[in-house]
């Protein structure tokens, strides 16, 4: 499969890094007087709800705490040093996991959405030319999200629209059309990222441990892949590209087989589809490598890639500064080498994202 190769001088693109305001005070300059007062009076600190303490404070590597006293995701100079410089990263895509979708006051949620994107520009994108970012949107308000996509897309350093995988409804449903239309018009891919909260990760209720919640995240990704395909998002918005970020990828082959098998008998339910589901999946999706699959026999990874069937499907990511960070040096086992390794580390992301758009 022919795809553009990245320029020779590039050696590493990181498709998933996390920035997040250290405290809500950092967003105040980007909020109106009304919301500043609201935050002060209510004591609102953060939209994150979790029933699963993470065993790692701020979900971060223990050696990623900046001397400044800020949180690992809140200190740009430190992240620049510990990630971009230390690992010689050429481009890094920031995904601020600020879960505005948890806030049911849509006006407040939308104000925070805009403030986070403005904060990302001021504190991160303006600070170093290697940073790129995803546009945070509010999945509970697709119209406001569309407007925010149009607003932020004017800044070429925004390279993606960010959705969190745990949502109030699967993203293929028609209510989300304005969001996909805006992304398509802006020429931006969608990134669906691990996270969100508010509903159980399983269809069987709430499990007990963070270990279960984290491992079960693949179920949410599978739901979104199935929904986007079956609802015809790739037909209705041709050219839509979706990155599955931090969802793993080993489950993709069996999902493609199962969906194709069922489609063959149930096609009449979804007559807008003109190809097999697996074709939509291979054309429309990509996945980041982190958290890297670790089969005890590394050769099975190559078998997996073979089952996926495209060598441009995977894009490297560290997930810095989270505890499940993948080291650029060691996360890909030696069996992945040569041209395949370079595709994963550089070329595939270079061709999926437009890092030098104007």
């Amino acid at each position: 499969m022919d795809q553009p190769r990245a320029p020779e001088g590039l050696s590493l693109i990181d498709c998933d890094v996390h920035n997040y305001p250290s405290t809500v005070d950092e967003l105040l300059p980007f909020l109106s007087a009304r919301w500043q007062a609201y935050i002060e009076q209510s004591g609102f600190a953060d939209p994150w709800i979790s029933s699963y303490p993470k065993m790692f404070k701020a979900a971060a590597r223990r050696d990623a705490w900046p001397p400044s006293g800020k949180s690992p995701e809140g200190d740009e100079p430190y992240a620049r040093q510990r990630l971009l410089d230390e690992w010689s990263v050429d481009y890094a895509v920031l995904n601020p996991l600020y879960v505005v979708g948890n806030l049911h006051n849509l006006d407040f949620a939308n104000a925070l959405m805009r403030a986070v994107n403005d904060w990302t520009v001021a504190q991160w994108l303006d600070a170093d030319p290697r940073w790129r970012a995803s546009i945070l949107v509010n999945e509970q308000d697709p119209a406001a999200s569309a407007e925010e996509i149009r607003r932020c897309a004017r800044d070429p350093r925004f390279v993606q629209v960010l959705l969190l995988v745990r949502s109030h409804a699967p993203f293929g449903r028609r209510q989300f059309h304005p969001l996909f239309a805006a992304a398509r018009d802006a020429g931006l891919p969608i990134g669906i990222h691990f996270g969100g909260s508010g509903a159980p990760i399983t269809p069987c209720g709430w499990p007990s441990y963070y270990l279960e919640d984290h491992t079960g995240m693949a179920q949410a990704f599978q739901t979104q892949v199935i929904s986007l395909v079956c609802e015809g998002i790739f037909e209705h918005f041709p050219g839509t590209q979706v990155a599955l970020v931090e969802g793993g990828f080993a489950w993709l082959p069996s999902l493609m087989w199962r969906l194709d098998k069922n489609y063959k008998g149930l096609r009449a339910e979804v007559p807008w589809l003109k190809k097999l589901p697996s074709e939509y999946i291979l054309d429309g999706f990509r996945a980041t490598t982190q958290p890297m699959e670790e089969p005890s026999n590394p050769k099975h990874l190559l078998d997996l890639f073979d089952m996926i069937g495209r060598d441009d499907f995977l894009m490297f990511a560290t997930d810095y500064p989270h505890w499940d960070f993948d080291s650029p040096r060691d996360a890909l086992p030696p069996i992945i080498d040569g041209g395949l390794k370079r595709r994963i580390l550089v070329d595939n992301a270079w061709s999926f994202y437009d890092f030098e758009r104007t």
Binding site: M55, F56, R61, R62, D63, R82, E86, W323, D324, F325, D326, S327, R329, D330, A331
Partner: protein, 156 residues
């Protein structure tokens, strides 16, 4: 004194005398119980942990993705138990956890707690004598420890 990837390692006692493969890495009082410390010995980075009068030394490389264990935490841990039974907490000061993915290693054996048969970190015997701490970088087999204790006659 917890070190990180970027901090320079604690200077090895290369100026100190080496006795039969033992390297002096400092005074007992240089080490704080429960604080993992990176020490360079004979070209190898080791993580040294003090627990009261005892010392442990492991290779300062996590076998997973080669993070420095010395940037991690030392603590106790949840001990094996039956389902539904109260979970015992123990081994205080004897477990080091990797700062990246949290893999736990038994400081006494170097073995991982989650997969002790397949995953371990090299362990180096440590001796204390006359208020100094010595690491034995020669031995590669745990059984040698006892023999050398008798040979050298170290006491805490």
């Amino acid at each position: 004194m917890t070190s990180s990837v970027l901090e320079p390692p604690v200077e090895s006692s290369s100026k100190q005398p080496v006795t039969r493969g033992l390297v002096d890495i400092g005074a007992v009082s240089d080490f704080v119980s429960g604080q993992p410390t990176r020490v360079e010995v004979g070209g190898r980075g080791l993580v040294v942990v003090r627990k009261g009068d005892e010392f442990f030394a492991l290779r300062d490389i996590c076998p997973h993705q080669r993070a420095h264990l010395s940037a991690g935490t030392v603590s106790g841990t949840s001990l094996p138990c039956q389902v539904g039974a109260p979970v015992p907490w123990g081994r205080e000061g004897e477990i080091v956890s990797c700062p990246w993915h949290g893999w736990e290693f038994d400081l006494r054996t170097g073995r991982s707690l989650a997969d002790p048969r397949r995953v371990r970190v090299r362990r180096y015997p440590v001796r204390v004598a006359d208020g100094r701490v010595w690491v034995d970088v020669r031995t590669r087999r745990p059984g040698v420890q006892e023999k050398q204790e008798v040979e050298i006659g170290c006491v805490v």
